[in-house]
Symmetry: C2
Subunit: 232 residues, 2 copies
DNA sequence: TGTGTTTTGTTTGTTGACGAACAAACAAAC
DNA sequence: GTTTGTTTGTTCGTCAACAAACAAAACACA
């Protein structure tokens, strides 16, 4: 619900008067007027609060996330997060959508081009690298997934996210199937579920023990295994 | 640390006077004296509180687990959980060990016998079925894993649990390797990490959406894939 | 065997901090 | 001047933490 309109509201600086914090004169400047529209204000506030919430969850965990701190960490007041999201559970659900929306946005233009099985494996690589390079989001998402089964509001939300992710992978496999790039006796959806599980599970272990888990080695092994089990 | 001595204290009834709740006479009986040893009392209290904590975490999540409710749900007082575990984080760490200890205990005598690749795959099957049949433990464990990366106390504990699990699977693969039952160019530890990831990830998705995830089908696909990618 | 004392396990009272929820005020945009 | 966004004041419940108190078992010694 709150994930519509995240892709805009990015560069609103260009329209506004540049926020003048200080100028040449030593006379105290009156507070600058950004003159943003209501929608812009609202969207920026929402985005900043979600970013703050992601950071808090990633650093200290869901149980230490509070509505008040979320608002303040975003540079607003105590009460704003509660006002926007209503409850902590719904804030957490919004976090999940926020992270996924960010990922989807990034993944467009990511692994384009390559076809066949290698193209599919390339997408998996992108997924893994994406987590590696955005540890905050990864940690927060991991925490949300862990909490989801016991939070009814969240469970539905995350289950939907999972279905979409599985479907995305399954689509990739379907294409390969039609091209004859993978063996014909696989079940795309079951394979996709499995592969998503593998990716998430590996990242979850890596989060807990970055020293002990050689992500490059495991990624290589993972891709090699998939190559063997999927090749026609 | 608290997982030593779980395997005893099971049948302490045989040593004590059988707890007499009522007897033949209609004279009100004085309160029965179970006459348990201090160690027995302590262990039972600990076990019952951990069981209660597992149930609470599985049903409502870690953030709704409180020390007070844990004690009371176990049939004791408000303060006992705090007295034993000191802090919520340490209680949660104890939960993880409790669940793992339970699993390990059950897994002995579980998948014994079969050798070669099929024996290894059989152990994986056991792991999955074990989660399916003990949803409470699975849910609680899943929640703990999700929270671990942001809770320093927990992180170390769970990382150790993971290492043990990976090592267990890797050992199975090593045996297969020596028998020539799997291809020679795999890295047992990396494979084990991957396989554990797959199992956990699939169970995590299943928890969120038991209707949407056909566990039998995915298990079959998973085992078939492993057969293809591991076979010599 | 019994009795008194010490240790260990368990409960209860109390305090203080924190967080959610609500209502009302204030500020900016329309 | 009206709507929409944002802050502030306040209340209420809940939980962790600590400090005693109480109860059961272990021990010592007759």
């Amino acid at each position: 619900m709150s994930s519509t309109g995240i892709q805009q509201a990015e560069n609103n600086m260009s329209r506004n008067q540049p926020t003048r914090i200080a100028d040449d004169s030593n006379v105290p400047v009156q507070v600058p007027r950004p003159r943003r529209t209501h929608a812009e204000r609202r969207e920026e506030a929402e985005r900043r609060m979600l970013d703050a919430a992601v950071r808090i969850v990633a650093e200290r965990g869901i149980d230490y996330l509070t509505l008040a701190e979320c608002g303040e960490a975003a540079g607003y007041s105590r009460g704003l997060a509660a006002h926007y999201f209503g409850s902590k559970d719904r804030l957490v659900a919004a976090i999940a959508n926020h992270i996924v929306a960010n990922y989807v946005q990034r993944s467009r233009g990511g692994s384009r081009g390559r076809k066949g099985l290698e193209g599919f494996l390339n997408a998996i690589d992108f997924y893994i690298e994406s987590g590696r390079s955005r540890v905050l989001e990864l940690r927060a998402f991991n925490a949300v997934i862990g909490a989801a089964p016991t939070h009814p509001d969240l469970a539905a939300e995350i289950a939907a996210v999972n279905r979409e992710s599985v479907q995305g992978l399954a689509n990739g496999l379907e294409i390969c199937l039609k091209q004859g790039a993978v063996r014909a006796d696989i079940d795309p959806k079951a394979q996709a579920t499995m592969i998503l599980a593998m990716i998430r599970g590996v990242m979850s272990q890596w989060l807990l023990d970055p020293e002990g888990i050689d992500l490059d080695k495991i990624k290589a092994e993972l891709l090699a295994s998939l190559r063997r089990s999927l090749a026609p």
